[in-house]
């Protein structure tokens, strides 16, 4: 029964990983990845690895989404720019 919380975290990670792959739009995927990062941090906590949980929170909840969203923005701005110049 002590494992119930581990099972919950594991299932959440599995579900979020599936969602991260299934959402093909990068902005939406970034949102899922942010939540996946949080879920992984929970999993690491229940596996008694708070150090790893902390770094996963630091990297996963703000840094990686920011990097992905900045790339998305650059790519989109480019294509929008390209369309403008064609018109």
């Amino acid at each position: 029964m002590a494992d119930a919380v581990v099972v919950v975290a594991l299932l959440a990670v599995a579900g979020l990983a599936t969602a991260a792959v299934a959402n093909r739009d990068p902005a939406r995927q970034a949102l899922v990845l942010a939540v996946l990062g949080t879920a992984l941090a929970v999993l690491f906590t229940v596996l008694q690895a708070p150090d790893v949980g902390l770094s996963q929170l630091a990297v996963g909840s703000a840094l990686t989404p920011l990097l992905i969203m900045l790339s998305v923005r650059k790519v989109r701005r480019r294509s929008a720019h390209g369309k403008d110049s064609k018109q």
Partner: protein
């Protein structure tokens, strides 16, 4: 297994379950709301776990999440401002409910720990969590009005 872990399990199951469903489906606005809620729901879960495992040092995790979770949401609100401006996502009922959950958990834990350094830390976590959560909701529904580029 003790009551704290049981409570944490329930909070985390509900929290991660709903945010998984919310972040994976539906329009963009709803997904951002779900991302914001994930912070608000998981953070109390982490606090409860820390109490359940009887490890005060685990509170740092909740502190970091309460600090960085809203920052993550602000990133999305900022960089998706154009899309969100059309949707104006609002879920004040849910937001207040989550904030309330955070407040209750922090209050209960404070009562259990009693005055001291740990209590101060808990209060900081609580303030950051509730404040950040409400603020991030505000930012989503139009916190960055004039972002074209920059």
């Amino acid at each position: 297994m003790n009551g704290w872990i049981l409570a944490a399990t329930v909070v985390l199951a509900v929290g991660l379950g709903t945010t998984l469903w919310g972040v994976a489906t539906g329009p963009l606005g709803r997904r951002v709301v779900a991302q914001n809620l994930s912070t608000a729901l998981v953070c109390p879960g982490l606090l409860l776990l820390s109490q359940g495992y009887d490890r005060t040092s685990y509170v740092d995790l909740a502190l970091l999440l309460a600090l960085l979770g809203p920052v993550g949401t602000l990133v999305f609100a900022r960089l998706l401002a154009d899309e969100l401006a059309e949707e104006q996502p609002r879920a004040w009922g849910l937001t207040w409910a989550a904030a309330g959950l955070g407040a209750v958990v922090v209050a209960v834990l404070c009562a259990v720990t009693g005055p001291g350094r740990s209590m101060v830390k808990l209060l900081i976590v609580g303030a950051l969590l509730v404040g950040g959560n409400l603020l991030a909701s505000r930012a989503m529904s139009g916190g960055f009005p004039g972002v074209s580029r920059g």
